[in-house]
Symmetry: C2
Subunit: 385 residues, 2 copies
């Protein structure tokens, strides 16, 4: 059997087809050999899936031993029955693996509205053994909806390994609304430290990107630490930040219909919060996004998006706008001489770097977005039923 050197000690995987989707894998498990210190962050969408409140309850004591994911149906807006179905799944897995069901984090991704085919799922586990593997590939496939590919990143520092697996890219399939990310490490992290560490990494990565400004009903990012190796927290934090950044970028790169990625940095704002809000206003502007798709160096739309940012303090006369290294707006006038160079820059590159320097304060923030293409409209206007 193939070696999976990048898998942290103490974790095994499972991925199969139980019958939620027609043919593709639709059920995944991550199991730790013992209870891990764990943390998780969840969607802020108030109209959330049935897994979310259960997950929040189970993570309270910062302990987890397993993650169970069903894909194809999101179990969102399914009410009491949806909640009961989720508990039935946890009970089955708990009995089968001899794991406290309170130590299992459930996730579900897929269509909003329908109920999970619970009899089919329960039936499957009555008739099938649960063969765990060190190979994460079946799991990574089992959590996909219509993602183009599995998205896995790993990292090794000293004896410590970190493995991240993510799924989703905005709203790939009509009715679909989920990003799931699981980060595993065999490093030792205290119960007190693990949530703050995850929060820092998520704020610098997943929370800096936007594909279509729509907030999923089931987003979940979880970190499990099996505690096999002691390690310096600072270095671990850096590695965690890096993994999360790479995973976030993988999601953007798999964004529906996207042809370009834009990295927008707002520099010298009065606060990071203002810089972030201004950046989000730019990457979420349909006019900035369509201009990028059209290879149009349309800085006026960046100025417009900057100007509509709520609570942003800036002086129009001090604002500089750059594409890559080329200045296009400064001292309240257009730097016309750079237009053709910028058109070329956009034409030639997939990653477009836009910098807005407010010369107002000392705080900066970078956000990541993508363009808005015909393909996005096509994918999302296709009939869902």
């Amino acid at each position: 059997m193939k070696e999976y050197e990048e898998v942290p000690e103490g974790f095994k995987f499972y991925g199969t087809h139980v019958g939620i989707k027609k043919r593709k894998k639709d059920f995944g498990l991550i199991i730790a050999d013992k209870v891990c210190h764990a943390a998780a962050v969840f969607t802020k969408n108030a109209f959330c899936g049935e897994c979310i409140p259960i997950g929040k309850e189970h993570i309270k004591n910062n302990e987890l031993q397993a993650i169970v994911v069903t894909s194809g149906i999101a179990n969102v807006a399914t009410g009491k029955t949806g909640r009961e179905n989720e508990y039935k799944i946890l009970k089955k897995i708990s009995n089968k693996l001899k794991i406290e069901k309170e130590n299992i984090l459930p996730s579900s991704t897929g269509l909003i509205g329908p109920q999970l085919p619970i009899e089919i799922i329960e039936g499957f586990f009555e008739n099938h053994p649960l063969e765990l593997e060190v190979n994460y590939e079946n799991f990574a496939h089992a959590i996909l909806t219509t993602d183009q590919r599995i998205k896995v990143r790993s990292l090794k520092i000293g004896d410590v390994k970190i493995l991240g697996i993510v799924k989703g890219s905005g709203m790939i399939e009509p009715n679909m609304a989920t990003m799931l990310a699981y980060i595993l490490t065999d490093a030792k992290i205290s119960k007190q430290a693990i949530y703050p560490m995850l929060k820092i990494a998520v704020d610098q990565s997943f929370n800096t990107m936007s594909i279509d400004s729509d907030t999923s009903t089931s987003d979940t990012v979880a970190l499990l630490a099996s505690g096999h190796h002691e390690f310096k927290q600072e270095e671990l934090q850096e590695s965690l930040n890096q993994i999360c950044k790479e995973l976030a970028l993988d999601v953007i790169k798999d964004a529906e219909g996207a042809t370009k990625t834009m990295f927008v940095t707002v520099k010298n704002a009065e606060s990071q919060e203002q810089a972030k809000r201004a950046g989000k206003s730019i990457i979420n502007s349909p006019l900035v996004k369509t201009a990028l798709f059209g290879h149009d160096p349309n800085w006026g739309r960046i100025a417009m998006a900057l100007g509509k940012t709520e609570g942003l303090i800036f002086n129009q006369n001090k604002v500089d706008i750059y594409y890559g290294e080329y200045l296009i707006f400064s001292k309240n006038r257009e730097e016309k001489q750079n237009s053709s160079k910028i058109a070329m820059y956009i034409e030639k590159n997939e990653d477009i770097y836009i910098t807005v320097d407010l010369h107002q304060g000392l705080e900066s923030f970078q956000v990541i977005g993508c363009d808005l293409s015909y393909e996005y409209v096509k994918i999302n206007s296709d009939y869902s039923t």
Copy 2:
């Protein structure tokens, strides 16, 4: 000469080609026979055009006698020179018409960045007489950018006439970012009453619509009252509200690439503000908009957009979602039996009514939006230079 019965007493118009655009009319004037009581509301975009601060200054005393509009260039992000050019235009018109330049409201719409060809404009007026007309059509054409048609509405109550002229539809042309609306009446409105009356009408109309969530840099809505007829303020307010609603709807109907109009009513929220914010979240969701374009009764996306509304207080179990008269979501579950009727409803109608009943409070609000089509992407991704 044709009679223009709908034109309120005391107003004349002018519209011509001075040379900002290649061929089309690009300069418009509205002149009152005497100083009017007036009010105006302007864009909230902090990155605003040079006309905006001048207009705010000139409207302070609630008096105006003329409106001057240049189209083709927005005079946005043009700095000191742009400001000076605007004053040169006002000076020319002021001398020519013997009107205090402080009583003129300037507007400019078109490309962001370039300077107005001020010599050409000044030269034009040195060599051309200013022939005013009761016919508003030349003016209505002169303020257009790439609007599909002129948009004019009028109303008569007793002796009083109200005329409204609007231009714009989101961001029709790349780099374009303006909606201008002028409402004229021969009713008498006091200086104290005129701004509140306009504000009420605008909040119920223009401020309830969104085409692409992008805020223009030059939006202006102005009301001029020539005071020829006394009239009951309540009735006048109603008529003003109606005219503004009709003009706003004209703008939405002319929205770029739009195939359908959506009227989203959020009912029984805790506050009007919450109902409005929830409605805006729905009409601005790219996924709700693309679903509408695809005739997809995708209520899950409405639930998602509702859920991501900041500060909205609601209970998922109490939410009802309707398309037209058909219930699709209630008691936290899908009303499957109505799906096909709803698909038919969307297929057959251009105006789609969506109702979200929160059963939470007593306040309701309706917002107006449109779908997101290939054509929108095409129009806005076309190269601007």
